[in-house]
Symmetry: C2
Subunit: 323 residues, 2 copies
């Protein structure tokens, strides 16, 4: 993969994907001890950066193939990103979700026009259901991160960062990225390498679920021991992808990890100082920028705030603990 795929994704996204701003607050600068710039992808369509990758993948399909519909496995942000892109392209999105997914997520995905197919986690195999539906109806599977078009779409955020940082005169800085499977991190890393080589992408993960950090340290794909047990569920994946990992290994700086409590603290500060709603998994990069200042150098840092799809009770917890 190279920058051309990202530039092409950006051209296809023009007028459809929001260019999010780069925000800051003197109060956050004071906490971090350097200037902190926040890229609020919570303001993106569907409330997360996943709308970028969904758009890139759906818009890249040949029209006849796209007209038959797409399919995705997700109960979260990827589902909404794919559903949004499919609807805007006038085609169908089938989203496969566990039957015990939160009612609100099922309703939201349906409200975005998707056909939601529920399966029983105990007795049914989602891959088998998906493969059958895809074969029967000619649907195209959109993977959440290990897909060149999805990586290119997420990379469009990196193009914007390169341009926005340049306008601010920032030529050297770490760009901290909330990281699950690595689609956003690898896409941004590719964009920065081409357009702002003094900016370096670094993945940030929840403590105890730092498969990407350990993979970068060892040079080999490492897996998480568990897949639940963090508030940052949106960015917990089994391991980095086979496409995303080599890109990250080549281009990223060392990984970072933060506790759930630091993510909640960053959420409370984003509420207070930026007027943004972040989900825990979307706040880990800001948490690292604010609370791990010794882990980075220079007088500026850029943090992706990757999503804001959080339930009211979790948000209220952040405010009550750190408000």
């Amino acid at each position: 993969m190279n920058i051309d795929a990202i530039l092409a994704a950006a051209a296809r996204a023009e007028g459809h994907i929001r260019k999010t701003p780069l925000l800051s607050s003197p109060f956050l600068d004071a906490i971090a001890g350097r200037r902190v710039f926040i890229k609020p992808e919570c303001l993106q369509h569907t409330g997360s950066f996943k709308a970028r990758g969904g758009w890139a993948a759906v818009s890249a399909l040949p029209p006849e193939q796209r007209a038959m519909g797409v399919i995705a496995f997700s109960s979260g942000n990827h589902a909404q990103g794919v559903a949004h892109a499919a609807r805007e392209h006038g085609t169908t999105a089938v989203i496969i979700m566990p039957a015990d997914a939160p009612r609100l997520k099922i309703d939201n995905t349906r409200a975005l026009g998707a056909e939601v197919v529920l399966y029983d986690r105990a007795t049914e195999d989602r891959d088998e259901i998906g493969a059958r539906l895809a074969a029967e109806r000619g649907l195209t599977l959109i993977k959440p991160y290990d897909d060149p078009q999805v990586i290119a779409g997420q990379g469009t955020a990196g193009l914007e960062i390169a341009e926005q940082a340049g306008a601010l005169g920032i030529t050297t800085a770490d760009v901290l990225v909330c990281c699950g499977g690595g689609g956003l991190t690898s896409g941004i890393a590719l964009a920065l390498a081409a357009k702002a080589p003094g900016l370096r992408a670094r993945p940030v993960e929840p403590e105890g679920f730092d498969d990407v950090k350990r993979s970068l340290e060892t040079g080999q794909i490492q897996r998480n021991a568990a897949l639940s047990g963090s508030l940052c569920d949106a960015i917990i994946t089994p391991s980095p992808g086979h496409l995303t990992f080599p890109i990250m290994a080549r281009l990223c700086g060392p990984g970072l990890s933060v506790t759930d409590d630091l993510a909640l603290h960053a959420m409370a500060l984003a509420f207070q100082r930026l007027k943004l709603v972040l989900e825990p998994g979307g706040a880990v990069a800001l948490a690292a920028a604010l609370f791990l200042p010794g882990e980075m150098q220079g007088d500026a840092v850029i943090a992706m705030a990757s999503g804001g799809n959080v339930d009211a009770d979790v948000f209220a917890l952040a405010l009550s603990r750190h408000g």
Copy 2:
């Protein structure tokens, strides 16, 4: 006043005041029964549109006068807007606040570099204190709304709306504006009249504190019977200004008012669907757009979300009641 003052304010603000986006959500469109576009001034520096007026007023002063400092009476958003503008211009802001103002507001204003002078509401006259300080030190008073430069500064938001609505092909719509003394409403009305005459500004106030609405109905400045008792305290003023009222009377559509509970409901929806933090007074225009659809016409409406400086407990109340 005319558009030239607003254009000049916009030129002076270039690179210093954020151009806020125009956001939307299909979920909000479905509630309102028409397309709803939100201008999130909560994302402005200091968390409210007041940074625009503060910037315009401070930047318009002759350099020698500006160097002597400015003064404002406020415990809220105007204080922060003036403090921010003064600091960025390298001058002093003296902010007069009641000694019983919330500690957090005092601290925030000081953290923005202002000199906070506290007075006892029971025994001291703030106007007398202000006049004495201004005379002794040569400070220039920046009024919160009844000042041509402040109106011009707030009007820069209207220039952005005219441009952004035009890019979306929206040529006819009501532009609902959270309204206290009328600085923002009159500034936006002036900008729209010049740049997008099919867009019409309409003030929105808290129910029971609808002095502007009644003033527009009667053609005479009306006063509020009380000045406390609403969660929307940021936009409660005794009456429209002597400069702002004639502009609103000439250019605005009829006023609207909403209950505190509708403002809280709009806050919860802004949390859920836009990932924005709004204060109650900053949510009344969105509340009117969503919950008073019969009060407007056409297939699109634009709502100012004028500020997000809300305490965690009030925000949690909105989420618990309507989340």
